[in-house]
């Protein structure tokens, strides 16, 4: 019997075997350095990850000797909850958004926060959203309309209605998928584009939202799946206008990307810090949390990325120019809409589901038409 020599395939095997040996050699001897213990935090990566590292984690390591291990495992509420239920949470400290936090609470997956470790008076400075027994607001972010200045030149959008106005601002659009529920703020955006006043946003009028989305659909290329994608689609030229988180837009501008955005009708959201039940390093997580919420690190954070600090005292340490770039600065927040997590996490009338769950299911029905 005749068979040809699979030179290539053989080589692949040889190489991978060689590399196995190398990998087994290098795989196990990491993390041997003595330290005052560790605390495991999900790494949000990108500019947000860099800002946290610079403002919170590196100074904390220096001060306490406790290693902050950034785990790039995906922060997926379902996966994290599965870990807590199995008694092996992947992280000690997590940063869920306002709506996801509710799921953690419902599954009693959170440790109470030890405020005795906090500096005096810090807890009272946490505002406008107050610190709870099991979670603290972490930072404020905004979803803003953003566009490519390459394509639109000097023309600037001023509202979500402009976002829908393809005649005035020609080009393709993208939005966050409504299957994220509150996460991408797409429901609020579509309602406001149709003329719903910010004070009348909740309860969300689904019929109006989907009618509004139907109007945009011919110009909607896709829904973005990650926070980085809208900027990628803008700079890649596949879309002209998008919704995006303000920090992403600012980060892209810093890197010279031809993008712009407006604070008008920006949608204010916030993430929370919370400690997972059954976490291996609860004590260290408590210490890290207490450190992060102090005004100094909070100001450093807001200097590193254009997200607002949760500790209002940090504004005293920020320059006026810097504060003007943040979502909660008085001028920016005046035209902003604050996302109502209480409504999103409330049980929808006549069902046993939360408003968010109902919204996601209605979204799927609409999207699969």
């Amino acid at each position: 019997m005749k068979f040809s020599r699979k030179t290539v395939l053989g080589a692949v095997v040889t190489v991978s075997t060689l590399l196995t040996t190398a990998a087994c050699g290098s795989g196990d001897d990491s993390g041997a350095a003595p330290s005052a213990g560790t605390v495991v935090v999900p790494d949000p990566g990108g500019d947000l990850g860099k800002a946290m590292k610079k403002a919170f984690f590196d100074p904390f390591e220096k001060k306490t000797g406790i290693d902050v291990v950034l785990s790039p495992g995906e922060f997926d509420a379902a996966v994290v909850l599965a870990g807590v239920k199995a008694g092996a949470p992947a992280y000690d400290l997590v940063n869920p958004n306002g709506a996801v936090l509710k799921r953690f609470r419902d599954n009693s997956a959170l440790e109470p926060i030890d405020y005795t470790l906090w500096q005096n008076g810090v807890r009272d400075k946490i505002s406008p959203v107050k610190a709870a027994d099991d979670a603290v607001p972490a930072y404020y972010i905004s979803i803003v309309p953003a566009w490519s200045t390459d394509k639109l030149g000097d023309k600037a959008l001023n509202s979500w209605a402009d976002f829908w106005d393809v005649a005035k601002f020609p080009g393709k659009r993208t939005l966050a998928p409504g299957s994220w529920g509150a996460g991408g703020a797409t429901f609020e955006i579509a309602a406001m584009a149709d003329g719903v006043a910010p004070k009348d946003l909740y309860p969300i009028d689904y019929d109006r939202v989907f009618a509004s989305l139907d109007k945009l659909k011919p110009n909607l290329v896709k829904f973005w799946e990650t926070g980085a994608e809208p900027i990628q689609l803008l700079t890649g030229g596949q879309v002209t206008v998008t919704s995006a988180w303000n920090g992403r837009v600012a980060g892209a501008q810093d890197k010279g990307a031809p993008v712009a955005s407006t604070w008008n009708q920006s949608i204010l959201q916030y993430d929370n810090w919370a400690i997972l039940k059954g976490a291996k390093n609860v004590k260290n997580a408590q210490k890290l949390l207490a450190f992060m919420m102090e005004s100094g690190p909070q100001a450093d954070f807001a200097n590193a990325i254009t997200y607002s600090p949760a500790n209002s005292a940090a504004f005293d340490l920020l320059s006026a120019d810097r504060a003007a770039l943040l979502p909660t600065s008085p001028k920016n927040v005046a035209s902003a809409v604050t996302q109502d997590y209480d409504w999103w996490t409330a049980i929808a009338p006549g069902t046993d589901k939360t408003n968010e769950e109902v919204a996601i299911e209605r979204w799927q029905t609409w999207a699969s038409k």
Binding site: K6, V8, P44, A82, A228, T365
Partner: protein, 604 residues
């Protein structure tokens, strides 16, 4: 024993051993079944049990909710259509390309096989982004068309076309390699004989060559079809606003609605539909699959013809003659066009496989922070960034180590399993074949969740073993099905002859099976390796702070900040692969040179 009664058993030669020894060949199935049961069936069942459980006890509510939901059925139908289309395209293209390969000089084959395999070492994510750069309205294709005077390019991406192109590109090697590994073992003498007896090349091919490849074609089709069902990343990136496939629907249920029971119910329904589909198709495929037994088909047709009246038999005969004539005319046309078809197949296939890589290679040299194509400025700063980053290098070696370990184990267990499947008792073949295919059908997310929940309390999360075990399971469908396809084409008489001449099991394995199956084992290894090396989903669950696999790191990176770094990783891996191939060529040449020199010395 039923197996021993098969006519192939008679070797004709004088036997030196007693004819009837108990057949222990089924024993080779034991490790396969043990692994699949412990590492796959148990975790999956524990999850499925959950999908029937509510606070009050047993419930069908989760299933009722899915079955009555139009969203679920839309996604299901779309998924099945996309899967069927990509299967047809992949197999047709793969068949042409594999056949063309076997007719090429050996050296060229090596080079072209690299072309086929190389894309696999590039993360699916970055390849999908490359497709956007190629297919988007301002992309390469549109620009080329504009040069040719076409002003309104067709919509190629963010719709089902884009999804299909991305999927075919990813799955084409999966169709090509199993077919090729069987084709390269076929003796062409029979085809030449048929041609010398007056058959045109295409007719000879159809009647002599094709039947020998049919099991590989079926295996390839099944692999591609089943793989498409679980696809998530490519459809999400290349599909349009309303193009969600079933895997995305399951993910939304799992992640966004935090409803693992509902997700498990959807996965169970998907499994059920696929199994029913295969059961229906199986009736038609059984003769070529030989899982159901080759000798059943003639028996059935004999029964049919004896039952029919003479009249209907005549009509049947006429119909057959007509069909044969149409077939022959068709084959004649194809035969005359065979060169353009084969060449066209290769050009199309190579274009599909390689264009995204060119884009990726150019991106890796971009100076920009984002992936703009073509980049405005070039630099090597992202390479410097990668090599300076210990975390990235560590992840690279970790992934290579874990993927090759799991692939090696899966080839050994899968190889023995394939032997037991093909040569062992006939009756359990179908259930075992289905069981082996299951890890491919079950969306990885569901399986990973089941596995995670089962092993998390035992401290396996974040360890190498915790990653290797599920990857072993994901590699088995490839190693078993590819080896089994090759084994079916291997004449059992070879083994029997060796045995009758006194060879023990080990020497049969070493001198008959291993050499003959080597191409299949190697491609099984490659696919098992890649199944692990390209995985993001299992890693999401099983990675820990100290064990982050490369694809997961890339996935995070690209999710958070789409930068040329992922392109750099792809290029580095490609470079490593190319260097290895080169090394292999050089050593082969050296060995040959030394051998020639030695033989000359001996001769003088």
């Amino acid at each position: 024993m039923s197996v021993d009664s098969s006519p192939e058993q008679f070797t004709g030669g004088p036997a030196t051993r007693p004819q009837r020894r108990p057949d222990h060949r089924w024993l080779t199935l034991v490790p396969l079944l043990a692994v699949l049961t412990l590492l796959f069936v148990v975790p999956l069942c524990s999850l499925l049990v959950d999908s029937f459980r509510s606070e009050q006890g047993f419930t069908l509510e989760n299933y009722h909710e899915q079955v009555t939901s139009p969203v679920f059925w839309h996604a299901m139908r779309r998924t099945l259509v996309i899967a069927a289309l990509s299967t047809v395209i992949c197999v047709a293209l793969g068949y042409c390309m594999a056949y063309a390969l076997t007719r090429m000089p050996k050296r060229l084959r090596g080079v072209l096989l690299v072309v086929v395999l190389v894309p696999y070492f590039t993360s699916i994510l970055i390849r999908s982004y490359a497709w956007i750069a190629i297919l988007a309205p301002n992309g390469l294709v549109a620009q080329t068309l504009a040069l040719l005077g076409v002003d309104t390019p067709p919509d190629l991406v963010f719709n089902q076309t884009g999804m299909l192109i991305g999927t075919v590109q990813i799955l084409l090697p999966l169709a090509l390699l199993p077919i090729y590994s069987v084709m390269s073992g076929i003796d062409r003498a029979a085809v030449r004989a048929a041609q010398s007896l007056g058959a045109s090349p295409a007719v000879a091919h159809w009647h002599v060559y094709r039947p020998a490849t049919s099991s590989a074609v079926t295996a390839a089709a099944a692999l591609v079809f089943i793989s498409t069902l679980g696809f998530y990343v490519t459809p999400a990136l290349l599909g349009g606003p309303g193009d969600a496939l079933i895997a995305q629907s399951i993910l939304v249920r799992f992640s966004n609605l935090v409803d693992p029971a509902g997700a498990a119910a959807q996965a169970a329904l998907l499994l059920l539909i696929v199994l029913v589909l295969f059961a229906i198709l199986f009736r038609y495929l059984a003769p070529s699959l030989s899982i159901g037994g080759t000798e059943q088909a003639p028996a059935r047709s004999r029964r049919r013809s004896s039952r029919g009246t003479a009249d209907s038999a005549e009509r049947h005969e006429e119909l057959r003659a007509l069909r044969a004539r149409i077939l022959d005319t068709g084959l004649d046309v194809v035969g005359r066009l065979r060169l353009p078809i084969l060449l066209g197949g290769w050009i199309l296939g190579a274009a599909l496989l390689v264009t995204p890589l060119i884009v990726v290679a150019i991106w890796s040299l971009s100076d920009a922070t984002y992936l703009t194509f073509p980049p405005q400025e070039y630099s090597t700063r992202w390479f410097a960034d990668y090599f300076a980053d210990e975390a990235w290098i560590g992840s690279t070696f970790l992934s290579l180590g874990i993927a090759s370990t799991s692939a090696a184990v899966s080839v050994v267990i899968g190889g023995f399993g394939a032997f037991g499947l093909v040569r062992g008792p006939r009756r359990p073949r179908l259930p075992i074949a289905i069981l082996v295919a299951m890890p491919l059908i079950v969306p990885p997310m569901i399986y990973s969740l089941g596995f995670f929940v089962l092993v998390a309390p035992h401290g396996l999360v974040g360890t190498n073993l915790g990653l290797i075990l599920p990857y072993l399971v994901l590699g088995l469908p490839f190693s078993v099905s590819i080896t089994a396809a090759a084994l079916r084409n291997l004449d059992v008489r070879l083994e029997n002859a060796a045995r009758s001449l006194g060879a023990g099991s080990l020497s049969v394995l070493r001198h008959v099976l291993l050499p003959a199956l080597r191409p299949a084992l190697v491609s099984g290894f490659v696919f098992a390796f890649l199944a692990a090396f390209d995985d993001v989903v299992v890693a999401t669950f099983m990675s820990g702070p100290t064990a982050v696999t490369l694809p997961l790191r890339m996935f995070q990176d690209i999710k958070l900040e789409v930068s040329p770094r992922t392109a750099v990783v792809a290029v580095v891996l490609l470079g490593a692969g190319a260097a290895a191939v080169l090394l292999r060529f050089v050593t082969a040449w050296l060995v040959r040179a030394v051998r020639v020199a030695l033989s000359r010395l001996g001769a003088s």
